[in-house]
């Protein structure tokens, strides 16, 4: 697969999501989702894409099914009825269309997230004309999320070893969460205050004026291509949305 600059990939993902939202055609949503899965197969991340997208989409699809199809009062072609349940064909069509649209939206952004080199993304942000703090915050967060999750597991194990947090029911659950949250937050903030001293001493001298040892490679056509894709997607979205989308 061609290795794109992080911003080119982002422009493609935003354009695909915007077009799918604006067009609101089930076949386009299905095509975009299928294309994302095929690209994930080529990149070797198909399993992760499908599992992550499934975890994100399952509650959303259930919600869309309940909101539009299961208790539909407007549709005329009733498929199942019983008690408050009134499943209609129109409701199922709407829920299916919205579900596919959400699937396209989620799969293109997840494909980008799973295939982008996060270190390159941070370096690209650092070199771009955006506030230097943005690069630091994105880099620190991407490093802190797994570190915080690891720290939470270590605290839970330590509390279990010392026999704290026993008890069942809601009270026991709350007690366990308190014994986890307090040391987790306190230690994280302690670390942050220590880092802030370093930041205060050095300031934020990011931006294009600073030379990077390994700049993120970008082909000459990528920047104009990314801008063109975004402009075309925005124009198409305005056109499609003004026509009603359906």
């Amino acid at each position: 697969m061609i290795r794109l600059h992080p911003f080119t990939g982002l422009a493609l993902a935003v354009a695909a999501a915007l077009l799918t939202l604006a067009a609101d055609r089930w076949w386009l949503s299905l095509a975009v989702t299928t294309a994302a899965v095929c690209l994930a197969v080529l990149a070797g991340t198909a399993t992760r894409l499908i599992l992550t997208a499934g975890a994100v989409l399952a509650p959303l699809w259930l919600s869309q099914l309940m909101v539009h199809a299961l208790f539909d009062t407007a549709g005329s072609e009733v498929l199942v009825t019983g008690g408050p349940v009134r499943l209609t064909l129109e409701g199922l069509t709407t829920a299916g269309g919205l579900g596919l649209r959400a699937a396209a939206f989620v799969s293109v952004f997840l494909l980008y997230s799973l295939t982008v080199d996060r270190i390159e993304l941070v370096r690209a942000i650092d070199a771009a004309r955006v506030p230097a703090q943005l690069g630091y915050i994105v880099a620190a967060t991407l490093a802190l999320v797994p570190a915080t999750a690891d720290r939470a597991r270590a605290i839970e194990q330590a509390q279990a070893v010392r026999g704290a947090g026993d008890g069942s029911g809601a009270v026991g659950w709350l007690r366990r969460k308190r014994l986890l949250a307090v040391p987790l937050v306190l230690s994280s903030i302690q670390d942050a205050t220590e880092r802030s001293v370093q930041l205060q001493l050095r300031g934020f001298a990011g931006g294009s004026s600073r030379t990077q040892l390994h700049p993120v490679p970008a082909r000459s056509w990528e920047k104009p291509f990314g801008l063109l894709v975004l402009c075309l997607a925005a124009a198409a979205a305005v056109l499609l949305a003004s026509q009603g989308g359906r």
């Binding site: 939202l21 992550t52 909101v67 709407t94 630091y136 570190a147 306190l186 903030i189």
Partner: protein, 265 residues
Amino acid sequence: MSTSLTLPSNTGSTLLRSRILPLLGAAVIAATYLMLVLLQPVEAAAGLSSWPAVTAFAGYLAGAILLLVGVLPQLPPSAVAIIPVGLALNIVLGQFVGSTLVPLYLDSIGTVLVGLLAGRSAGAATGVLGSLVWSLFNPTVLPFAAGAAAIGYLAGTAGRLGVLRRVYWAPVAGFLTGVVAAVLSAPVAAFVYGGTSGAATGALVAMFRAMGDGLLASITKQALISDPADKALAFLVAALLVAALPRRIRLQFPQVQRQASRPGE
């Protein structure tokens, strides 16, 4: 603590940008909301039209990014250092609760914590950045950036009004913040996704729909049930966590320094 000796001094244009861009961002968010509510489409039997989805997605996201670009350069290093911690807490706690059958989110404790400690600008920036960074793990949160910014900004306002000195006011501030967040976020849930992100919240919306309400009205009512309770809990937890911090750590943050300098601390 002394300010950095290496940071460039603020010029007139920098100050102008730091004032104008956040105001412009807030105006875009308000205009998007008003447009969606005033011109909301009539639901056809076959579903919704697509312009509200594009408007909600692009308008809220553009407004939130303008807000971020204006606010970020003026934040002190102590605020910049605490923002990633807030974001990590949002993600770690939010992903856990989001997968349960409880109609709460608890995905904003980190944002509230940063707002209480570092002020309104830092809180708003944490809200927007939280949505942007979390979207790498869960893309559905991306269009909710404007609502998250409002939560952070209002948490900072609550901190400025003295919630950290009187913790019992924290749930009240959280409740009011939840009402604002519910009203702002409902159009995104309604028009971009046509539903909510959880099964329990979806059941509440379905109940209101079965009672004859429209989609936006149903989701707004559901959000007005879930969000105030969720934010009241988040504010209370965040305020208690701040109270548990050692004083020497608390005093490193500008908002707490201001509170400590007032009589009565």
